[in-house]
């Protein structure tokens, strides 16, 4: 009569029901809704690429990038957090609020493109860690150029190339002994 042991155990222990709102806090690793820190964002769009349910959308604009997130679509898989190269995307550790209307918690974060130090036009955001991962040893020249907007960077690169070619051409000409 083992079932009687279970029953007497239950009676002796008392009800196990947790009365509202006495709910246990979620585990430390809990995967809640996603937030994004615009200050860290590179606007690379990886979170959009890995998002299975299209809860995250990254829409690049002229001077800034729109990052939208809809918890109603989110599957809370955490892929965006795992794959973000600069840890700009994080997940809340709590269960969040309930809501009644579809899309009520949709969030939009605008990631402004920093101004180009030369011309003032929008340039792409940059991050030291990613720069290191992409190029290994970062030369002073590269670090200086990375802040520029695309146009200024192209110009700077062309100028540098021209300068190099020019020097080579100068020496070549002199070597020619014409």
């Amino acid at each position: 009569m083992n079932i009687l042991n279970i029953i007497t155990g239950n009676v002796a222990r008392g009800p196990q029901t947790v009365r509202f709102p006495g709910r246990e806090a979620p585990a430390a690793a809990y995967r809640g809704s996603v937030t994004m820190d615009a200050a860290k964002c590179l606007a690379c769009g990886i979170c959009d690429y890995v998002c299975v349910s299209r809860a995250i959308a990254v829409t690049p604009g002229a001077a800034s990038c729109e990052w939208t997130y809809d918890p109603g679509r989110c599957t809370y898989c955490g892929r965006c957090v795992d794959h973000c190269p600069v840890a700009a995307v994080t997940q809340a550790g709590d269960r969040g609020d309930s809501y009644a209307r579809s899309g009520a918690q949709r969030a939009t974060v605008t990631v402004p493109y920093p101004a180009c130090p030369q011309c003032g036009r929008p340039a792409m955001p940059y991050n030291e860690a990613v720069l290191g991962a992409a190029f290994g040893d970062v030369s002073a020249e590269l670090r200086e150029r990375i802040h520029l907007c695309e146009r200024c960077r192209r110009r700077a690169t062309t100028a540098a190339l021209k300068a190099n070619f020019g020097a080579a051409a100068e020496t070549g000409r002199s070597d020619d002994g014409r």
Binding site: M1, I3, L4, I7, N10, V11, R13, G14, P15, Q16, T17, R19
Partner: protein, 302 residues
Amino acid sequence: MTVVRGLISLLVFPGALFALPAGWFMMWLQRKINARAQGRIGPPFFQPFFDFVKLLAKEPVVRPRLQGFLMTVLPLAAVASTLGAIALLPVFPKAGGFSGDLVLLVSLIEVGPLCAVLGGFVSRSLYGGIGASREAVLTLAYNVPFLIALFALVASAGSFSLAGVALAAAWPVRVLALIALVACIPVKLHLNPFSAASAEQEIYAGSTTEYDGPRLALWELAHALEWVALTGLVASLAFPVADAAWPVRVVVFVAVSVALVVVLSFAAASTARLKLAQTARWFLLCGSGIALSALVVAFVRL
């Protein structure tokens, strides 16, 4: 038995005024014990009463006239007959009763299940029909030990009156017969392990599947009264206190009834539901065996 006394036992004690709250209390107690056995909190004290009021307040589904009439009359008949059975209970063995009231009691108790069978069929639901046929088979099955046990008591006491049985039946016969009677109660009350007639995982609510609102409330009421009638029958036969003052008798009657509810509830919580054929076989073999032994003992003594 005077008319006044009859009315009092029908309307006051052990009738309506006592039986209604007592029935709700017993239903609550069963659910509460079940919940505690499972480690849950269980329903609040007034839950069966709230359920009843809530169902009464609901607008019933519109049905064809004859069907609607039958579906109202059948649960009403079940309520009325069960109330009548309660009024006949020999709580005060010396105070009333008449020769042959045992037969009346048995037939009144049987009206409830009969109404449930008919009610299931007239509701014209497939599941109601299956529930009704299960109910019918089970009624046949448990009535074998039920009637044999009562007959053993009658044979032992030499009287067809409830009061006579309560006072005069020999104790060995009485114990065996009461065990058989108690075993029959779970079938009538749809409790495990003999709850095949209302197995929700198979046939939803069985014969009451199609019932709604006030009509279902009447079934719930009949169910609550059945609790009182059946536990009361066993209680009044098990502890007939003939000579004590009436408050003592009432207290003993209520205490034994409640104790029976507790036992049945724990038994229900610790078993699975048997199938229809298994339930029927149990009653025809084990249940009848106990009842028959009571009968044998009764005749040997005579």
